[in-house]
Amino acid sequence: EAGVVQSPRYKIIEKKQPVAFWCNPISGHNTLYWYRQNLGQGPELLIRYENEEAVDDSQLPKDRFSAERLKGVDSTLKIQPAELGDSAVYLCASTRGGSTDTQYFGPGTRLTVL
C-alpha cells in the first residue's frame, strides 16, 4: 500500500510570493489533514477534510491560506502572499475516517520564505 504522497518536498520563495503544496492520501482514506510543523515544535492542525468537505478549519489563517479537495481525493494547500513566519514543514495526513483510526503522515513539504 502506497503511503501519503506530498510534493514538492522543498520550496524556497521570496516573501509576498504565492506557493502551493499538493497531497495525495492513501487510497481509500476519506479523511485528510493538513498540519504545520514549526522548527522545534510538534505539528499543529490547519484543516481537516471529510471527503471534499472542510469540517475543521478553525486554525487556518484564512486571510492568506486556502485549501481545496475538489474530488475528495487529493488536496492542495495554498499560501498567498507568503510571509517570513510561514517558513515551516507542511505535513499531510490521512485516515479511513473511523473515530479511532491512526493518522498516517506524508514526508512533508519544507517551505523557506526569504
Partner: protein, 115 residues
C-alpha cells in the same frame, strides 16, 4: 482544551540499555494517545496508540507504552535501545469524547542512543 507535555528535550541512553521517553497529557474527556517517531527530513511514522483496554500497549520496533490514567501519563519504553532508534519522538492526544479528530502534539523529545 487538550495538551501534551514532553518534559525532556533530549534523552541520552547507551545502546542495549532500556529507554523511557516521558509524556503527560490533559484532556477533558477520555484520551486517545499516540506515539510517533520522526527521522530527519521525513514525516511522522506511527509507533503505537492507546484507545481502550489493556494499559500496556505494544507497537512497532519493540516499543511499548503504558497508559496511567491516575498520573495522566503515557510513557514510551523499550527494553534494549538501538543506535538506529536515535530520532525525534512525539506524543499526541485527542479527546475521545468530542468530534474533533485533530491530534495535539507535544514539542518532541530527541532520543540519542550512543554505541
Amino acid at each position: 482544551a487538550q495538551s501534551v507535555a514532553q518534559p525532556e528535550d533530549q534523552v541520552n541512553v547507551a545502546e542495549g540499555n532500556p529507554l523511557t521517553v516521558k509524556c503527560t497529557y490533559s484532556v477533558s474527556g477520555n484520551p486517545y494517545l499516540f506515539w510517533y517517531v520522526q527521522y530527519p527530513n521525513r514525516g511522522l511514522q506511527f509507533l503505537l496508540k492507546y484507545i481502550t483496554g489493556d494499559n500496556l500497549v505494544k507497537g512497532s520496533y519493540g516499543f511499548e507504552a503504558e497508559f496511567n490514567k491516575s498520573q495522566t501519563s503515557f510513557h514510551l519504553k523499550k527494553p534494549s535501545a538501538l543506535v538506529s532508534d536515535s530520532a525525534l519522538y512525539f506524543c499526541a492526544v485527542r479527546d475521545a469524547d468530542t468530534g474533533r479528530r485533530a491530534l495535539t502534539f507535544g514539542s518532541g523529545t530527541r532520543l540519542q542512543v550512543q554505541p
